[in-house]
Structures are given as C-alpha cells and as structure tokens.
C-alpha cells in the first residue's frame, strides 16, 4: 500500500477568457519528493504552479494537502513558498536583510542558529552585506532560496530555477537544490522547460502538453516507457541528440 501523498491534485480545470489552460490534472506527490513539471511555453505549467501556490484560483477540481482540502485556502494560509525565476529580491535591501525579511513579520519562523546554519550551508556568509546588484546570478539565487527557506515552507516551489544562470554553474546549483531537499526533507516542485534538467534532478517528472498530463513517472519510466509520440518525438529525441553530441565530443578528445 502506497504512503499517503502529502499533496494531491484532483481533476484540476482552469480556463482564461474562454480558453482552457488546464484540464483534468491529477497529481500525487509524496513527502520529501522532488518533482519536476516539464512543458513548453503554453503547456500550462506556470498556471499549475500558481494554482498550487494559491495565487490563481481553480475553476473545478480540488487540492489536498496532507489530506485536507485547501482548494479555497488563500496563498498565505497554505504556507507554501516560491523562488521566482528572476528571484524578485528587494533591491533596496542588502542580501542579509532580504534573507531575514520574513522574520520581521513572524519571529518564530526560524531561530538565530537555524539562519546561521542556512547561511553557511548556502555559502552566503561573505556576501551578506552586499547590495543585490553586486551579487552574481548564482549568489542571487542562493539568497532567494535562503529567504524562502527561512519561512519553513511546507512545499517549496521553484520557477525555472536554472534558466537565468550561466551554463557553467548550472550543474553545481542542481546538486545544491537536491542537497537542500534531502537535508530539510522538503517537498519540492520545480517548473522547467528543459527536459535534461527535469530528468536529471528530480525523483518524478510530470510532462504537460497543452493543458493535460502527458506522462507522470520517474525519469527511468519516462526514458524507457514513453507513453506517447509527443514524449518520444520532442523529449527523448532531443536528449539523444544531446547525448550523441557529448559522446562524440569526448571520443574526439580521447582520440
């Protein structure tokens, strides 16, 4: 018997101005899992993210968190949190003040030691006094992560966490995100348009196509048992070309 899911979406439907954006979305996520929602622009993945966050209301269906229906619960009361693609850091405050921003509203979110530990874990100690515009992309993301983690979110949402970063540091950030979810046993949902990203860092991948779930499973399941032509055509083929290019590159170097 499966463990009871921490987050459960049932038959979610949403339309904007008469156009159906999401239809019949079902999803179960277990505690501590890292799930990616993969799709092209217009697939509805950002809308789904906003629905889980509580920013966007649903037309029909329901959302359960730990078995409680939270479909009509406000964003604030859900207690989830998000790191936006462009981080939305406050430029009038320095890195440290951004990190502790939420504490001025609720001191009991995190204690002094917890924050110190978080800062050290994310290697932000030396950047605390810097203004936001003095930080590199990776540093900004770590500050944004720290700011969010201080609020102890019940679910962490990451909107395209790697897209604004330089290619060279992408892999290290991936590892760090994985490390965070493991360390804090944090249920994490990532939205991305990059198949490689989704399949290499998550426990499970949900592929969205034009508002419906194309496939939901582990990366192995997606690679080995693609459910339809869309996945075969657009996702696996891309990855194979990439793999062949990289193999080719390394063989040439060895030759």
């Amino acid at each position: 018997m499966a463990v009871k899911p921490v987050l459960e979406l049932k038959n979610i439907r949403k339309q904007f101005a008469g156009k159906v954006v999401l239809d019949g979305i079902d999803l179960e996520i277990q505690k501590g899992e890292l799930v990616s929602m993969l799709g092209t622009s217009g697939s509805g993945k950002t809308t789904l993210l906003n629905i889980i966050l509580g920013l966007t209301s649903i037309d029909s269906g329901s959302i359960f968190f730990e078995g409680v229906d939270i479909s009509r619960t406000s964003m604030k009361e859900r207690g989830f949190n998000i790191v936006f693609q462009d981080y939305a850091l406050f430029p009038n405050l320095n890195a440290y003040k951004n990190i502790i921003y939420g504490l001025q509203n609720r001191q009991n979110w995190s204690g002094k030691e917890e924050i110190d530990e978080l800062i050290d874990f994310l290697e932000l100690r030396e950047h605390l006094d810097k203004k936001i515009h003095q930080l590199s992309g990776g540093q900004k993301q770590r500050v944004a992560l720290a700011r969010t983690l201080v609020t102890k979110p019940k679910i962490l949402l990451l909107d395209e966490p790697l897209s604004a970063l330089d290619g060279v540091i992408k892999e290290t950030i991936k590892e760090r995100i994985k490390a965070i979810t493991k360390r804090y046993n944090l249920t994490t949902i990532i939205v991305t348009h990059d198949p490689e990203e989704a399949l290499t860092m998550s426990d499970k991948v949900m592929i969205l196509d034009q508002g419906v779930v194309s496939q939901y499973g582990t990366p192995e399941q997606v690679i080995n048992q693609p459910r339809n032509g869309f996945i075969e055509e657009f996702i696996l083929r891309q990855l194979r070309i990439k793999r062949d290019n990289i193999y080719g590159l390394f063989q040439e170097c060895h030759a």
């Binding site: 989830f80 406050f90 921003y101 939420g102 509203n105 609720r106 969010t148």
Partner: protein, 543 residues
C-alpha cells in the same frame, strides 16, 4: 487574483471618489450652467456669447497666435533637440542648452510678459543694447514672443525624449548607402519623429491657447480668450452663464488637441534596440545647429536678464546705480512675506498630497488585480485632468464650491493644483512601477507582509527617485501657476502669482520682479534639491 484585497479596493474607491467630487462634478456643473437658460436646456447662452463680436474676435486671436507660436516653437525646439542629440557640438554647450531651456519653467508665465516689456519696450534693456525698438510688444508680437518662450521647454523635452529613442545606427547606414544630408535627415530623423513633431506642435498650441499669464501681462488691448474669460468673471458682476460658455469654448480645442495627440502616437517609430554608436562627422552641420541653438538659448535667457537687474538699481532705466532698496522693501514687507508663505504652503501641501494620490492611483492601476474597466477609468480620469485648462478647472471649482465651506480656503487651491497637475506625475509613477519586478507583492505576502506593508517596505523604497521627481513636479508647477488659481484666491489666501497680477495694477515692476526672483530661487532650490536627493539615492545603490 485569488481574492480582491480590501485595502486595494479602499484606495481605488478613495481615488475615484476624489476625482468624482473634484473633477467630474465641477465639470458637470460647468457644462449644465453653460446650457441652462431661461427656456430650460438649450444653446441660448452659446448663441449669445458667439454673437458678441469681441468674444469671437478673442477666440480668433487666440487660435491664430497659438498656431503661429506653436509652429515657431516646434521648429526651434527641433533645432535644439537635434543639436543636443545628433550633432557633435561640445558637451559643455549641450549642457548649457539643456539647463538654459529649463529656466523659463521655473518662472510663472505672467512674469514673461513683464520681462518682455522691460526687455523689448521703448526703454527696454535689449532695446537699449540694439539701439532700436525690435518690434511692437503689446499685442500680437509680444504675445508671440511670450508664448514661444513659454512653450519651448515643453516642446524641447518632448522631442529630446523621442530623439533618444532613435537608433543612431541608421544614421551610419544611411551615410554608408551614400545618402546626402537632406535624404539622410528626412529618412533617419524627421520620419521617425513625425509623431512627436506633431505632438510638440499640439502641446505648444494647447499651452498657448489656455495660458492666462502672458496675455494678462503683455496682451495690451489685444483680446484673447483667457483674458476675455477673466473679464467676464471678474470684470464687474460675475457672469456665470457666459463665463461657463467661454470656458467650454476654451475646453473644446484643448480636448480636440489631446485626442489628436493620442492619434499621433501611432506614428511613433519603435526601434527594437537603441544602440549608441558614434555619429558621422559633419563639421558644417555641427557649426550651424550648434551656433543656432546656443544663440537661441542665450536669447531666451537675455529676455529674463532684466528681471535680475531692474530691482537692483535705483531707478531703472534712468539711474542705474546699484541699490537693494526695492529688494529690502519687498522682503521686509509683512504682506509680501506672508503671500510668499502662502505660496510655499500651498505648493508643499499640493506636492505631498498630490504625490500620494498620483502614486496610489498608479499603484492600484499597474500593481493590483483590478478589473480592466477600473483600469480604464483611472487612465481616462488622468487624461481628462490633463485636458482641462487651469482656468476652466478653476471656474468649475468656483461654481461647484461657491456655497460650500471650501470657498476661499487654502484647501481648494491645493486640490485645484493636485487635479490640474495630476497627469504627469501619475504617468511617471505608472512608468516606474510597471518596471519593478511583478513578483514582489507575492513574495512579500509569502513572507507574511500585508499588501500595504510590502508597498511601504519594498515598492516605495524602490521607486523613491520617481517619488522625489513627482514631488518636484507638483511643487514647481504649483508655485508658478496662475491660471488654475486665479478664480479661487481670496485676500486671505493670496499667492505670489495672484499678487503679481495685483501688482500689475500699479505697474509695480520692481516688486513683480522681486517676487518672480523669489519664485525662481525657490524653484531652483527645490529642483536642485530633488536632483541632489536622487543622486544620493542612486549613489547609495551604486547604479
């Protein structure tokens, strides 16, 4: 979009209520008064007014001079903007042009007329320098000079802004394709600017058409619609029906002008990128445009020179010995000082309250989930506020609040200024707020902020530079306006500009100039203060 926030609704309602009471209702009363006659609602008042030869003549004069002035202004402003943007004139000269052109904006337009009289009159400073009278100052020519000086800065900033959006790469391309100066000029400069050039003309026209200060000072017996309206209302017994008709007649061209401006916007080019490449060399071009522009700015400044000389000599122009007698008399005169205090009070209050209202309106419009219809209502309100000439607004206030407690208070002057100057600061705030990261409110809310708290902790600190500029705009314009307040001031609430109008009665030029210098210095200090504050702000963030 989950749940409409009650505080946003409250702010929205507050703003809409404000403009319902202080814009829509007074204008409605004005319209109804103009249509109400002995036989009910008809055009009888309009017919009466339009049968009055002097009114028709005044309208004709106003249209005529405003059009000529707008044409001249547009050409001159274009030359200035071209020099600053598209020539390799020395940077120091470019700065001189940019700074010099601001000077008239810091002075009330009523001062221009007196400066013109003392510059170009029979005993004028410039007349003395040239040895001959350059032109007949009272009437058409004097008004024309006044209007051109008055509208030149507005037209220049409009064009200057558009110039900076032209991709200079195209100048290089045009040069490489072998275009001559004229072909290159028309294709790469005039064509992309045609919308703004039209806009500069329309803006100059409306400004001249609705101005009261210049015809009040240098109009002579040349009737203009603004002075006609003033006489009908204050000449003897206030004539509300006819006054409202003339006000409506003043409103119509202004309204048509604003509509036309919106139409012109579609002619504006949008380049994808703006690259800042160098300009092709052309010494002749630089010499001609640079020389013309510098001369122009010096000419404008020269007109105001007399203002800074006349009050400091014993008896201008006969006895040119230095004397501070007039200045001392004016500055140590309780009545003068108290009028100056009134002006400062009104300007500061209008600037503080106006900035808050305009900022809130922009905030609600661009950073909250209000309906599209509500968004359009706010934008329309801003456009209407922009359309209504100051005198028309003032008259509408006079009619609507005639029997209320507001009559004769400072509050009505402050509100009149807020409504009259609302649009520009509102657009400044809108522009700035729409550029800020849209996820801040959500982030703040997730961090436990209320909406208002995020606004105060994050949005406001990140738009401080704009807020400072909005404050400066409201302050300076409230200090220099006469048209928006002339119908609303009383003895107890007299302001510097209305005092200048009163002093004109005695032709007390020295006092007029001393008061003008006071306004000028005050505005200069505020303007420099704003610039300094913004410099501090931006150096604080190292940008």
């Amino acid at each position: 979009m989950h749940k409409k926030k009650p505080e946003i609704r409250l702010v929205l309602l507050g703003i809409l209520a404000f403009f319902a009471v202080f814009l829509a209702a007074p204008l409605g009363v004005l319209l109804i008064t103009s249509l109400k006659s002995a036989n009910g609602i008809d055009f009888a008042n309009y017919i009466t007014v339009l049968q009055d030869k002097s009114v028709v003549k005044a309208i004709g004069n106003s249209v005529n001079i405003s059009a000529v002035a707008a044409l001249i202004t547009t050409v001159l402003a274009f030359i200035l903007a071209y020099t600053v943007n598209f020539t390799q004139t020395a940077n120091s000269l470019k700065s001189l042009i940019r700074l010099g052109i601001v000077v008239p904006m810091l002075l009330p337009s009523i001062t221009y007329g007196f400066a013109i009289i003392y510059s170009f009159g029979k005993q004028g400073l410039l007349t003395k320098l040239y040895g001959v009278e350059l032109f007949q100052i009272y009437g058409f020519q004097g008004l024309l000079v006044g209007y051109v000086i008055y509208t030149l800065p507005f037209a220049f900033f409009l064009l200057n802004n558009s110039f900076s959006y032209i991709d200079k790469k195209y100048l290089i391309v045009s040069e490489l394709m072998g275009d001559g100066f004229w072909r290159s000029f028309t294709n790469t400069t005039v064509r992309p600017l045609i919308g703004t050039i039209g806009g500069a003309f329309v803006v100059s026209f409306i400004l001249s058409f609705t101005d009261f200060g210049i015809p009040a000072s240098v109009g002579g017996n040349y009737n203009m619609i603004a002075t006609e309206l003033y006489q009908v209302m204050l000449g003897a017994i206030p004539d509300f029906p006819n006054g409202s008709v003339i006000a409506m007649l003043m409103l119509l061209p202004a309204f048509a002008g604003v509509c036309f401006l919106n139409y012109l916007e579609r002619f504006n080019f949008a380049y994808d990128t703006i690259s800042t490449t160098g300009l092709p060399d052309n010494k002749l071009r630089d010499l001609i445009f640079g020389g013309a522009s510098v001369l122009l700015v010096i000419a404008v400044l020269a007109v105001f020179l007399v203002m800074f000389i006349a009050p400091f000599v014993k008896n201008y122009p006969y006895d040119m010995q230095f004397s501070t007698e007039f200045v001392q008399n004016a500055l140590f005169n309780r009545a003068m000082v108290s009028v100056y205090e009134n002006s400062i009070f009104v300007a500061v209050a209008a600037a503080v309250a106006g900035t808050i209202i305009a900022y809130c309106a922009a905030l609600v419009n661009v950073r909250s989930a209000i309906t599209k219809r509500e968004r359009i209502i706010i934008d329309m309100t801003a456009m209407i506020a922009n359309t209504v000439p100051g005198m028309v607004l003032g008259l509408a206030f006079l009619m609507f609040f005639n029997d209320s407690e507001l009559k004769g208070t400072f509050l009505i002057l402050i509100i009149s200024n807020i409504v009259h100057f609302f649009t520009t600061p509102y657009l400044m705030a809108k522009n700035c707020l729409s550029k800020l990261n849209p996820a801040w409110e959500t982030t703040g809310e997730l961090m436990g902020d209320t909406w208002i708290k995020t606004v105060l902790r994050v949005i406001v600190p990140n738009s401080l530079a704009t807020i400072v500029d909005m404050f400066g705009y409201f302050f300076i314009n409230s200090m220099v306006t006469i048209s928006a307040i002339i119908f609303l001031v009383t003895a107890r609430t007299a302001l510097v500009t209305s005092k200048i109008k009163e002093l004109q009665h005695f032709a007390s030029f020295n006092e007029i100039f001393v008061l003008s210098i006071l306004i000028f210095v005050t505005n200069l200090v505020v303007r420099l203060g704003c610039d300094f504050a913004n410099k501090q702000l931006s150096s604080g963030t190292n940008r």
